[in-house]
């Protein structure tokens, strides 16, 4: 706005204060995130079953991983995560559209109602499904009174997907709603006025303009569900083994930290490639609000 007032001192101060304010966060990330991850990556290169970081590095853990069934659990995890993303995109798009464009006061209510669920531990919510779907549970028992006898609906792959879709719905819904909010109404109206069909408007206006939201939601859900541990155990029983469960086993019963670390490094590698690809394409400032005026 009033440009001339900004002298050199002010800018220098901005630089200084910005750095100082960011410092606590950066230190936290350094010691609580970056270094521990480097530690994992390095541990993955240590000989199997050792607990020290001081051996000569080698790739034998990785060779072992690719010769075993770990590839299968990685494939299961990836498949489950992809299925969750696709189902959530289809389920959430209409709802997000409603939140962003159609519902007025109702949108706040729906937002609070769904966001509040995040405050209940996902274990408890998943256990709710167990009670609903187990033999003589709420769903099966109710069907039973209508004469439809049913065994437990638990412990299979579709139920695990249901659990993931359920737990990660808010992480898809809210980015999508923010993304759809970014589509200006005038553009849609202009497209309609020019004779575009509903499908054309969706395909050529809504979809490209809300793409940041779609991408952020999808990546967030994918990353969270590929590392998920509770869904497959609580709802899936022993039906499949996910990569996160494999990693946990190596760190607990297996007592093979280097192998667990190598598995974690692979998992992190896959997710980080995706995350960086997406975050580099999106301007977070546009997404969350506006850029600050002083610059």
């Amino acid at each position: 706005m009033n440009e001339p007032r900004r002298n050199w001192n002010w800018l220098a101060g901005s630089q200084f204060f910005g750095t100082i304010s960011a410092l606590p966060f950066i230190l936290l990330m350094l010691f609580g995130f970056v270094v521990p991850l480097l530690c994992v990556a390095w541990f993955g290169l240590m000989p199997a079953k050792s607990f020290s970081l001081l051996h000569a590095p080698s790739l034998q853990n990785y060779a072992f991983i690719f010769s075993q069934t770990y590839v299968k659990s990685m494939a299961w995890s990836t498949g489950l995560a992809l299925a969750t993303v696709v189902i959530l995109l289809v389920l959430c798009y209409p709802l997000a559209f409603g939140l962003a464009k159609v519902f007025k006061g109702g949108a706040t209510f729906v937002t609070y109602a769904i966001a509040s669920s995040l405050f209940v531990s996902e274990n408890i919510r998943l256990f709710g499904w167990v009670i609903g779907l187990m033999k003589k549970g709420v769903v099966t028992g109710t069907l039973g009174t209508f004469g439809i006898e049913m065994n437990s609906l638990l412990y299979n792959v579709p139920v695990i997907v249901l659990g993931m879709v359920y737990v990660y719905l808010p992480f898809m819904l809210f980015p999508l709603a923010l993304g759809i909010k970014m589509v200006p109404d005038q553009v849609r109206e202009a497209a309609f006025d020019l004779g575009a069909s509903r499908w054309h408007v969706f395909r050529h206006v809504d979809l490209p303009l809300s793409m940041p939201g779609i991408l952020i939601g999808s990546v967030l859900v994918f990353v969270l569900s590929i590392g998920a541990i509770a869904e497959a155990k609580i709802l899936g029983g022993q039906s499949i083994v996910t990569i996160a469960a494999d990693i946990e086993t190596e760190f607990t019963y297996g007592q093979n930290w280097p192998l667990g670390s190598a598995l974690s490094t692979l998992l992190v590698g896959v997710t980080m490639v995706l995350v960086f690809a997406v975050l580099n394409r999106i301007d977070m400032e546009k997404f969350l609000g506006r850029a600050p005026r002083e610059s």
């Binding site: 966060f25 464009k101 405050f119 998943l126 709710g128 499904w129 590929i226």
Partner: protein, 272 residues
């Protein structure tokens, strides 16, 4: 006009169905917690409704211990996260500095990350530093995950507020520190309340991080998980329901306060 009336009704109906399904598991938990039988079966008779399991849950010293640990972790990691998040939000949204864009990406990184892996990375790091994991290492783990969320919430708050007050103060010759102390902080303080609410509840419910970083101590979600995977026990839904009620109470309290404050503000502004 974006949608027709029929479409609007359809969308509202859809939202209602999603919400119902969304709260269905919580309904199940509460239903199960009220059933007298040791092995839950649905439907059950009115005579079988009991609060016995709640009494058991509240009286259980084990549950009390886990609740205590969860609370300690939640409160401490919230305090740390608010401090880091407040300054983080200034760097994110208020000051323009050279590495701001990179900083904004750094803030998102821990959120786009498998939590279980983060938990065990910290476990190994603590092990390497020769620190025995206990509840306070969980505080660090929770802070690593919650501080970015606090930063984002307060940044959104900072974005949504007009910075003309700060500009005016600057024009009148206030120093950076004075602006921070007398203008930015009071403006962002209401945002801190909702951020604090978020932080406490997210830490309270967190499982994946606690699983690896609490060591010999155990947080409530861990205990519940251990019980859930080893067969049905009626105390589990009772503790779960109690935790749900506590969350609802906290949410109502915070929204109540903020609604009252904004009503107050509207009344004041209307008066002038």
């Amino acid at each position: 006009m974006i949608v027709t009336r029929a479409q609007k009704v359809g969308l509202s109906f859809y939202a209602g169905v999603v919400l119902l399904l969304f709260y269905f598991p919580l309904f199940c938990i509460i239903t199960a917690s009220l059933s007298k039988k040791r092995y839950f079966s649905f439907p059950y008779a009115w005579e079988d409704v009991t609060l016995k399991w709640y009494e058991d849950a509240i009286a259980s010293p084990q549950v009390q211990e886990y609740v205590g640990i969860s609370l300690k972790v939640a409160v401490l990691s919230t305090i740390c996260s608010l401090f880091i998040g407040f300054f983080g939000a200034l760097a994110y949204a208020r000051y323009s500095w050279r590495w701001r864009k990179s900083f904004q990406k750094l803030v998102l990184l821990p959120l786009f990350f498998p939590q279980s892996v983060l938990g065990l990375a910290l476990l190994m790091w603590f092990n390497f530093l020769d620190i025995t994991p206990s509840w306070w290492t969980a505080v660090i783990a929770h802070t690593v995950w919650i501080a970015p969320i606090a930063t984002l919430i307060m940044s959104i708050q900072a974005y949504s507020q007009d910075d003309s007050l700060e500009e005016a103060a600057r024009d009148m010759g206030a120093s950076r520190w004075q602006i921070l102390r007398w203008i930015t902080f009071p403006l962002l303080a209401p945002g801190m309340v909702s951020a604090a609410c978020f932080c406490v509840l997210l830490s309270w419910g967190n499982f994946a991080l606690s699983l690896f970083t609490t060591g010999a101590d155990s947080a409530l979600p861990e205990w519940l998980y251990a019980r859930m995977t080893s067969g049905y026990q009626p105390i589990v839904p009772a503790v779960g329901s109690l935790s749900v009620f506590a969350a609802i109470a906290l949410v109502c309290l915070v929204f109540g306060i903020s609604a009252r404050r904004s009503a107050h503000k509207v009344a004041q502004e209307g008066g002038h």
